[in-house]
Assembly symmetry: C2
Homo-oligomer: 335 residues x 2
DNA sequence: ATGAAAGCGCTAACAG
DNA sequence: CTGTTAGCGCTTTCAT
């Protein structure tokens, strides 16, 4: 370890071949120099096990072939899946991924994004937690950025994948309404940190229209975060007849809580989610949710960024429509 | 975007303050220079929104504060969770994470690890797919590496978190044996790519001891990967009475397949997993599995690396013991 | 206490 | 086709 047999450099190849570093640099990239030189250089490079130093390249400027992916919270199963899908999609374009996780803290997002940019990522894919704080103008000016379901104040975007939250929320609330539910608890994350999330606004508006009594409850992300809260909500005297979780991960925690309390879903209470994680059809009972195709989302987001990097400044915005998926976790309101 | 208002550099601060870059460099790190200078420099730095360029630092040498995390496949839910846990743990130590995903391809692992090293990560956390190929000696010599459940040929390790696969497999097979199962299909991933995985060896040995008829079946990772295969296995004339999945994600796909075929678990067939993903207690039926505490694993792995980086070359090896978790997906073998 | 200069590995003008 | 030179932003001798 301390021995540090350093990695081979372009300079060594230059010495070995008797060429200048410049010539080697070109040869390695197959430019300008003669075919014979290219071959000779390649041979030495292979033999030395040379590969260009990405850090030096990055410092010099130019593309790094790496994209920064920033997600709101990897504690959320759906976002885990999204991150994987995005990464996979990037790979099909020959791009590497650096994944960063704001871990539920909106204040952290800008700092993390800045750090990714400082690492010279060629572009940024951001799935923000909520209305992120800070001024993204400077950052997005220098680093092409595509957002996934969220806004970045001041940002100049290379692309945008929006989710039609209004329709999604509307369909779900109408579904619950049609089942006779009138008092509904809505579990959402990061409410305090970013109080004006469009999803919650949509909930309030649609609830008003339908005449529903919706209480929005702040909730930690994820399974373990939502369970204790769910217990609290479930044990109230005036327990709601349905719980609408703004992420399936939250719903999982609620299902867990229901089980602990001996509550039958959906007989005693309905529980629904909002992103349709792949496992939602396998949990007990299968979770009613709203699907936003992860594949389409990932493909669109990556496509926008790749197009942009290729110089295409076309129309880079798409709205993903929700697909309501009714399963067994929602049923008639108990009378 | 092309306008490129570059990020502030140390040089700009030097000009603003009338100092030399050297002095500024020291001042920013609070070294050598006078308190007054430090303050003056800080003020200008803050005002300019300066932060050190990590790329330049990396090129120069020295620590980058970033750790590379390499996992075998992010398509696997458990590994997603592990990655998150590790990342979180690193963060408590003030370390940043670059996450890379071999996506089920053992041949890719060494290349990805090399790339992370080239990015000047301070250390590497590797959860390999199976007996990885290639020679890790050179890499691990230069970059401190901790493995999580797996071996790296030739590697000189800064630490090792091993899983006691033998005991884990043994307990599960004995559990199935005691329920009367004799013909068991074992679904594993990456069998072809790395035929001698210790887990599978353990399966063969323990099966022989118990007199079980265990067939090891190659299986793509994850939910969607295992479902078609499961269907194939389930529709055989001589269907096994139990399916032992070497990862819970695989088991989820099998459960899905069973449902499609109208097979009741565990009445018609038992299905068990092997890593106890947090959702395994929530699926239908709750999955019998073997738990390797993710938190302990993450904490140990990160702890080893941090210790090592701090100069502590103590004993950096731990074996995580399995905890058998019997739930409802395993029952008596159908007669 | 501060500054000048070298260098990390690579690429890109600009010669020849 | 190939070499010289400069420079990306930072840290670190070595002087002053």
């Amino acid at each position: 370890m301390a021995a540090t047999p350093k990695r081979p450099t372009i300079k060594q190849i230059a010495e070995e071949t008797g060429l200048s570093v410049t010539a080697v640099s070109y040869a390695l990239r197959g430019e300008r120099v003669s075919a014979a030189t290219i071959e000779r250089v390649q041979a030495v490079a292979d033999q030395l096990g040379y590969s260009a130093d990405p850090v030096a390249r990055a410092l010099r400027g130019g593309r790094t072939g790496t994209i920064g992916v920033l997600v709101g919270s990897l504690a959320d199963f759906w976002q885990q899946t999204l991150a994987h899908a995005v990464q996979r999609e990037l790979r099909t374009h020959g791009l590497h991924t650096i994944l960063a996780d704001a871990d539920g803290d909106p204040a952290e997002e800008l700092a993390l994004a800045a750090r990714l940019a400082a690492q010279r990522v060629d572009g940024l894919l951001v799935a923000p937690i909520g209305p992120a704080g800070g001024d993204w103008a400077k950052l997005t000016e220098r680093t092409p950025t595509v957002t996934i379901s969220g806004r970045l104040p001041g940002a100049e975007l290379a692309g945008e994948v929006a989710f039609d939250q209004t329709t999604g929320v509307g369909e779900m609330l109408r579904h619950l309404h049609s089942l006779g539910h009138r008092r509904i608890a809505v579990l959402s994350w990061a409410v305090e940190a970013s109080p004006d999330r469009p999803t919650e606004r949509a909930v309030r508006e649609q609830a008003a229209t339908l005449g529903l009594d919706c209480e929005i409850v702040q909730c930690a992300y994820s399974l373990d975060g939502s369970r204790p809260l769910a217990l609290e909500v479930l044990e109230r005297a005036d327990r709601p007849t349905a719980i609408f979780c703004l992420s399936d991960s939250i719903a999982y925690g609620v299902l867990h809580g229901c089980r602990e309390l001996g509550l039958q879903v959906p007989r005693d209470i309905s529980v629904v989610g909002f992103d349709d994680h792949p496992l939602s059809r396998l949990v007990d009972p299968p979770l009613t949710s709203v699907n936003w195709s992860i594949d389409r989302t990932a493909r669109a987001a990556v496509g926008f960024l790749v197009d942009y990097l290729a110089g295409d400044r076309g129309d880079h915005r798409v709205v993903i429509a929700p697909t309501m998926v009714v399963r067994d976790s929602s049923g008639p309101a108990p009378s």
